[in-house]
Amino acid sequence: MTETTVNAGIAHGLYREGEPVADSKAPAGPIAGKWRQRQFEASLVNPANRRKLDVIIVGTGLAGGSAAATLGEAGYNVKVFCFQDSPRRAHSIAAQGGINAAKNYKEDGDSVFRLFYDTVKGGDYRSRETNVYRLAEVSANIIDQCVAQGVPFAREYGGLLDNRSFGGVQVSRTFYARGQTGQQLLIGAYQALERQVAAGTVEQFTRHEMLEVVVVDGRARGIIVRDLVTGEIETHLADAVVLGSGGYGNVFFLSTNAMGSNVTATWRAHRKGAYMANPCYTQIHPTCIPVSGEHQSKLTLMSESLRNDGRIWVPKNREDCDKDPRDIAEEDRDYYLERIYPSFGNLVPRDIASRQAKNVCDEGRGVGPMVGDFRRGVYLDFADAIQRLGRDAVESKYGNLFDMYARITGENPYETPMRIYPAVHYVMGGLWVDYDLQSTIPGLFVIGEANFSDHGANRLGASALMQGLADGYFVLPNTIRDYLAKGPFDKLTQEHPQVVEARTSVEQRTKRLLEIRGERSVDSFHRELGNIMWEYCGMERSEEGLLKAIDLIRGLREEFWRNVRVLGSGDTLNQSLEKAGRVADFLELGELMCIDALHRRESCGGHFRAESQTEDGEALRHDDEFLYVAAWEFGGGDALGEMQQPVLHKEDLVYEAIELKQRSYK
């Protein structure tokens, strides 16, 4: 709105603005022909030359695993790294719902263009049109590939694949394998990868964590890793580096991410010159099992489909919050979604459901155990559904989810209402990439959740799996060859000054973390950071809150580097040391996320900005001012978490194939 507040970040000296940035790789011409044209224009690498080209891939989830397998099949010399004990553990495995593809097997009007349109609209018009169109285009190939690998998708009695409608779209384009779609797709990619390991085209490094990227003469030429078992710091050099290291939702401490999910690979690349795009774009899922106490280590998501039959409510009166819900009379219950949004009711989009749950809990009407000063939970009640459909029908639809809930909470959801609360589970932000998925560091490519490209300000259900596999199987292998065709680059030795500098910085940082021997555990810093992020950079943000958060994070980071306690040594398996490095990077990322959120003075996607709402309190987007990707350049900093002002580079979003519209749900 007013100039002074739009530029609050600048006004407070928190960042400065640099030159705009633009994608230079998408060919001109109609959107439907761009990908075919780019594949044709991208240089080829002679099959005989491929084994002379070394490619490093970090991460073995859907994106990294599929890319490693595909580049191995093509004959490149691939090294792949993961911090887990096997590539099959990557957190893609936990995705439940399904994967979208524009197959139109149901003949219900689906098409590449419709999937493209739904994804851009779902992203609240903050994603790059060209990338999303390509994603929709290759989606059908993914299903073919996975079926050929033996991925056991759900089938109908005729033996053909089943589809369902997912995430509020009106066509049935989601392929699934019960509630374990991510697991089955990942095992498919893992098996393809292990086949290449056996063939000798891919060398696999498990329990290895990337701690630095090696940049020589402006190109990414390798990585520094720590062997988590022996503690040895190793240098691996290559002609190109690919990061498929996932998202950074664990900056919130509590999220549905795996314990080890972290930002280190991408943050280290950011510090070496890769721009970080839209870091404040976080997806918060409304139907998770609430926190049960201070000991909580992670949150568990339950499928959103529960909202089809469950009714969400809280007590009208605070005094009733600790009562047995079955003893609260109908007239004393507030079915707040049905009340505020009579036409959509309990099926409002994810972001609305999440934010309203937070609002009622902030008013002191939450239910469940006290965590800190508040009860953080709302009821999701199936009593009506059980009465209407019968217990058997409810059980056949939701039985596995009810069992999961009962196992975690010890409560029987057939007898007493479930309690739910929103939780962080995906980040749309990530390293900035061009149409070729190359970052601002030549030779450094970023795929899957680690990049920012396809989901804008909000991700549609069943599209994360699609993007990971699109990037890894079909996009990256076609675009990276244009870069590799310029190689092989000059052979580097481990004694090259810029290689030594990278390795030394890692050794010194490891040593420093072990020498502090302060008073506070790594987890206590992580938990405090998470609380700050959730409070001020979560579902609802305000200028005042974000400025406060930035101060708090700076103070916490300063304390971390003088008061963290990491016991044990660096030359053995040391899980506290691993966590310490990750939390140190989260402490830097958290500040950038707050700066990004502060500068984006609009409500878009799931990000509600208190200063940007309609008269009736709904989200208000500002296309006139914020129709761009915010790509942040690292402004400089030291090894102890001191950071200079980051530099904002704007990439204007141009919509040629789709018309911009405001969402509405009332």
Binding site: A69, T70, E73, Q84, D85, S86, R88, R89, A90, H91, I93, A94, K103, Y105, N141, Q145, C146, V147, A148, Q149, G150, P152, F153, A154, E156, G158, G159, L161, A177, Q180, G182, Q183, Q184, Y190, Q191, A192, E194, R195, V197, T206, A258, M259, G260, S292, G293, H295, S297, R407, I408, G410, F474, P477, S521, D523, L567, G568, T572, L573, Q575, S576
Partner: protein, 245 residues
């Protein structure tokens, strides 16, 4: 709840280990088993003692990274993964013994952490369909009868945690391997390599030092995903057919 924990501590692969006794108090029954260990580790850290190393990642029962022998049972008293086990399954005052998976093919790395790389090598030996990216026909080109698809899915639910090996008196990995063989043998896509696959995987299994199967059935009882023992029959049937030529 107050508990006494006897936990295996071992500094490294070549060190000898021993059971050490720890006390934890004020444990909430709503904590997961691993959160209880998190609490113990925070206490140890505060006292200046190195925390206990144990593996976990997703903590929602699907990645297969966690796995402990809890009072002699793989993943403890419930049919689930260690991360999905909650303290309400234990009694106040209980003494709980916590050990790593015990098998020659899973050497201990540190404390409760073992090396399960042998599982990756068994998959490398043939646990896949050889189809390069881009070479796939349309997904509907080959219908798969629903019963076969469902049985393939059931077998493919294996999370590779290793509980089957830990529970087996012979430390055999036949349930793990049988699950993969069954998954691929049930599907038309798995047929071309069916015979070569089973021979190659069994060879690798034996080379890794896993024991033979004597039909005890402890594997299937311990499996958090309920993979039935008959996947081993499928494997044996395929193996017989392959060896007869």
């Amino acid at each position: 709840m107050n508990l006494t924990l006897k936990i295996w501590r071992q500094a490294g692969p070549r060190h000898t280990g021993e059971l050490m006794t720890y006390k934890v108090s004020d444990i909430s029954p709503d904590m997961s088993f691993l959160e209880m260990l998190d609490v113990l580790n925070e206490q140890l850290n505060a006292k200046g003692e190195e925390p206990i190393a144990f593996d976990s990642d997703c903590r929602e029962g699907i990645c297969g990274m966690c796995g402990l022998m809890i009072s002699g049972e793989a993943h403890g008293p419930e049919k689930t993964t260690t991360c999905q086990l909650h303290m309400r399954s234990f009694r106040d005052g209980e003494v709980i013994t916590i050990e790593p998976w015990r098998a020659n093919a899973f050497p201990v790395i540190k404390d409760l952490v073992v090396d399960r790389g042998a599982f990756d090598r068994i998959i490398q030996a043939g646990g896949y369909v050889s189809v390069n990216t881009g070479a796939a026909p349309d997904a509907h080109a080959t219908p798969v009868p629903k019963p076969a698809a469902d049985r393939a899915f059931m077998a493919a639910e294996c999370i590779g945690c290793g509980a089957c090996v830990a529970a087996c008196p012979n430390a055999s990995a036949m349930l793990f391997m049988g699950a993969k063989v069954t998954h691929l043998s049930e599907l038309p896509q798995g047929q071309p390599e069916r015979m070569a696959r089973v021979v190659s995987m069994v060879d690798q299994h034996d080379e890794e030092g896993f024991g033979g199967c004597t039909n005890v059935g402890a594997c299937s009882q311990a499996c958090p995903k309920g993979i039935p023992q008959d996947v081993i029959s499928t494997l044996n049937k395929d193996l017989r057919a392959a060896l007869r030529g």
